[in-house]
Symmetry: C2
Subunit: 137 residues, 2 copies
DNA sequence: AAGTAAGTGCAAAGCCTTCGCAATTAGTGT
DNA sequence: ACACTAATTGCGAAGGCTTTGCACTTACTT
C-alpha cells in the first residue's frame, strides 16, 4: 500500500517490474543497472534489461533514485533516501571510501565563495589512491 | 628536433601520426579522442581513429599526456605540461570551471588526515551547478 | 467490463573503445 | 645507401553498455 502510493503519487504506474527495480536499488546501494537486473530476476526472471534501464531513468526523473559515477566504469544507482556522501575512489584497487558530506562542507563553501559553484560531491567520485595502494610502487 | 628528442627520449618511434596526436592534444586542451582525430585529419587525413586511441594511450604511458573524466560523457586528454587544475563541471550547461590545485589543498589534506586518501582532483571533475544555472528553475 | 495510454519484451542499432592481423615504416647496423 | 627487425599503422570486426522502434500487454480510468 505504502509502496503503491509512493509510486503512484509520483504519477507512475504500479508495475511489478517497477516496484522490483525500486526495491533492488534500495537494497543494493551503489548498484549498476546490471546488478539491479540480476536482483530483480530473482523474483521476476523474465524482466528485460531495457526495462530496468527505462525504469531507472523514470524513477530518477521523479526523484526516487539517483545515479552517481563512481569508478572509471559505469553508472551506479542509489535510493534518494540514502544519506548523502562523497565517494573516494582508489584508482589502483577500486576501493570506495564513503565520506559524510559534512566533512566536505568547508571545501564546497570555498568553491561557492570563490567561483559561485554549487558543488554536488555525491554525483561524481573523487579519484586518488588509498593509503595501502599509495605505499606500494 | 626538440619534438623528436621529446618522443624518442621516451623510447617512442617518431611517426607523423604520433607527432600530430601530441600536437593536437597540446593545442586543444581537454579534447576528446574524436576531437584529437579531427584536428589531426586537417594535416593527415588518412589517420585512423584507432591509431589516435593507441597513441593517446602510449603518450599517456610515457607521461606526455593525461586524461581526465570531465562530464558525463567521455574521456578528455590534455598535455602533461598544462598547469594542474581541478574541474568544476556544471551539470546543466556543461561549463567547465578550472580551479588551481592550490585552492583545493586544505580539502585534500583533510582527506589525507581523515581517511589516508591521496586525492587526485585533476582526474575526475567535480559536479555541481554554476551560478547562473543554479539561479534558474 | 471496455477503452486507452503507459509500460514491457524483444531484437536491432548506436556509441565509444579495443583487438587481431596483414601491410607499412622508423630506427639500427652494415 | 641497403637490408633487417620490431614497432606502428590501417582496416575491419567485435565488445561493452545503453538506447530505440515496434508490436503486444497491462494498469488504471469510467
Amino acid at each position: 500500500m505504502a509502496d503503491q502510493h509512493e509510486l503512484r503519487d509520483k504519477g507512475l504506474r504500479l508495475t511489478p517490474q517497477r516496484e522490483l527495480v525500486l526495491a533492488a536499488v534500495r537494497a543494493l546501494e551503489h548498484a549498476t543497472p546490471e546488478e539491479v537486473a540480476e536482483k530483480v530476476k530473482l523474483t521476476h526472471p523474465g524482466i528485460n534489461l531495457s526495462t530496468v534501464y527505462r525504469n531507472l531513468e523514470t524513477l530518477e526523473n521523479v526523484g526516487l533514485v539517483q545515479h552517481s559515477h563512481l569508478g572509471h566504469g559505469g553508472v551506479r544507482y542509489h535510493a534518494s533516501t540514502e544519506e548523502i556522501h562523497a565517494h573516494l575512489n582508489c584508482e589502483s584497487c577500486g576501493t570506495i571510501i564513503e565520506v559524510p558530506i559534512d566533512a566536505t562542507a568547508s571545501f564546497t563553501q570555498s568553491l561557492l565563495d570563490g567561483y559561485g559553484f554549487h558543488t554536488d560531491l555525491a554525483h561524481l567520485a573523487i579519484a586518488g589512491r588509498c593509503e595501502s595502494c599509495f605505499n606500494k610502487p
